[in-house]
Symmetry: C2
């Protein structure tokens, strides 16, 4: 996958992960890049989130330094010092100011980042940089993911957007302006100013990462960072860039939900007919995070009662007696009651697939929302009951 | 277990459940009883909830008719007619007005209650009534429960309170005044007026059933109904009755969480040090329903990072850097950072137990809340992925 012009990527094993897999990734812009980020709105914010957000105030950056294996969250001053030290050692090896290196971490909460391991690996990491290094970068940032997540989109004038993400659990990002352990990095060689980049990134995140849930838990480390090198020489409109960012972020969000810990199905929930998009989003979020809904999806069961009951507790007014529910094209509820056993058997066939849409039409209002969610089964329990052990 | 004076209880199989277990229960007061109820705040409310709430406006009732196997929720007018018909047939067999019979249902959502089966069983049900029938009543109302749930408390003057409940999944009641598929029935022979009974019941529910969660899902059928026969002749104060109701409802709530689908551990979360009790309750609810917290409890893992991260997304302001977390008496976090590996190993021993307390002290404010939650493991998935099949 050809990266946008002006970026190089590298990855090594710094032995942060116990299994020895590559766990330290670096993306570098040849010159100062226009930069923006959105970060978790969780009150508990990991040290790399604090540092990256602060450094992004300048609107420019040279590099993104990412490690897996240790989230460096809930680690106090020691954690902050470790993040500063790790970006310092990599900045020295790169010959750039440490303030221009944006950190991101993912892994276990509560352990301090082993900055001495990163210092030891800094030269090798910089030595691994290459325009063809995206594959290594995309693999080094993974934790419980089944595989790397990449997406790209073309822009007018020969520019492009490349997105790289990780995330399979603790996925229910709540990203705000300026504020996302999913990690996602968007690289573009389009020309864009810092304010436009920040606006485009925020709007793209709201309808993609912020409308996706694996388990309803928001991480201390969720981060989305965008770097724009301008090296294509192409000047694109904000609308064009937003469309490309939204497409790339949308693909990455779907890849994360599809890779949801133990997930076999991706369900796109569509909520329609409410008073406002905000109301529809509230209902969508409640249904998308309902355990009873997610276990029914695991069971491939067209259990519309659970869908409707979850919608009913969202705190949004609607008349259950006009509710319509469809699985794919198959209507299973009309006027708030079941269509019948045959429809449910047809629906169950669709629910056996890897990806489908469930639509709840809860009235005749204009409010509409989409949300991606996954089923929840035994593997989720296995992954999360044993993660630290 | 001796029931309060003035009540008889019965149960039969009406063949609503496919497995032939007893599934129809009746509790009758010898004369008009003072009555009050709290019901689910879910917008989607089953027919029996609608009918029982309406009938409780009179403040008096003679009987409670409960079935398992069919929730009669999301069943429209047909469901409403079925509830009316079933109470009518039992009222006739009892020789009382149908308006004095309060219905409650639990089971699958979306199927209309088979009122003809209840009509056929009405005479046998009334024939089964006895002052010793509490055991049958308590078993006939069960669905996925591992066993019956009973609690009692003594009142001054020889009066008493008896509580009977069911509920193991879809447990996160949201009961309001006047408004719970947990079902709970409180019987007392104390003398109390309707307004006092309604107030006492509501206050007792808020600190018990409404502070307990198995899976975060609120049912369409959650109902708590209290009947006071006055037959003890004892006139008790509201404070005395509230203390007794709170104790009985608290025991029933704990029994429900302990019987949470697939649960092995009951965790009492204590949240302290916030600005207000309401803030503490919001944090407690968020931590109690976090999937990552609940799977960590299943794994007996003192994963305090997940506890703190869940608290951090509750939307309540606190300083994570002063957070203290204890498992039982063992402090595992002080000043927002880990105490150490030894403390966590001690904590893990406590987490292997059937019941324990986890305390999060998040500041120095006066706000405090308690919440009961369970671990979440494979059996939850088994029970809920296959419930309708």
């Amino acid at each position: 996958m050809r990266p946008p012009l002006g970026f190089r990527f590298g990855a090594v094993s710094a032995h942060i992960r116990k299994d020895g897999r590559i766990d330290l990734a670096l993306a570098v812009s040849d010159d100062d890049a226009v930069a923006a980020g959105v970060f978790t709105r969780n009150l508990v914010r990991a040290a790399p989130v604090v540092v990256a957000e602060e450094r992004l105030r300048s609107g420019v950056a040279r590099a993104v330094l990412v490690n897996a294996g240790c989230a460096n969250a809930c680690t106090g001053d020691a954690g902050l010092r470790a993040t500063l030290a790790s970006t310092e050692s990599v900045a020295q090896a790169l010959g750039v100011a440490s303030e221009s290196v944006l950190p991101a971490s993912t892994g276990v909460i509560g352990a301090v980042l082993p900055s001495e391991k990163i210092a030891s690996a800094a030269e090798a990491l910089v030595g691994s940089l290459s325009v063809d290094g995206v594959d290594g970068f995309s693999r080094a940032i993974l934790t419980t993911d089944r595989g790397p997540k990449l997406a790209r989109a073309e822009l007018p004038g020969g520019a492009s957007v490349l997105g790289v993400a990780k995330g399979a659990g603790m996925i229910h990002p709540d990203l705000g302006p300026p504020q996302a352990t999913m990690l996602a990095f968007l690289f573009t060689d389009a020309q864009v100013d810092p304010k436009a980049l920040a606006g485009v990134l925020d709007r793209a995140c709201q309808v993609t990462f912020n409308a996706a849930s694996v388990d309803g838990d928001t991480s201390t480390n969720d981060s989305v960072i965008a770097l724009a090198s301008g090296k294509s020489g192409a000047s694109v409109s904000e609308a064009e860039l937003e469309a490309a960012f939204t497409r790339v972020a949308g693909e990455l969000a779907r890849a994360m939900v599809a890779d949801g810990e133990g997930a076999n199905h991706v369900c796109e929930l569509v909520i329609e007919g409410l008073g406002s998009d905000a109301d529809a989003r509230t209902v969508a979020r409640t249904v998308a995070t309902s355990l009873l809904v997610k276990t029914a999806l695991f069971g491939k069961d067209a259990n519309w009662g659970r869908l409707l009951a979850a919608a009913g507790r969202a705190g949004v007014k609607f008349d259950p007696n006009v509710a319509e529910i469809s699985v794919g094209p198959v209507a299973i509820v009309r006027g708030g009651v079941a269509v019948g056993g045959e429809a449910e058997r047809e629906a169950a066939k669709i629910l056996a697939g890897a990806s489908y849409t469930i639509t709840l039409r809860l009235g005749s209002g204009p409010g509409r929302a989409r949300y991606l969610t996954s089923d929840l089964g035994h593997s989720y329990v296995d992954v999360n009951a044993g993660y630290r052990s």
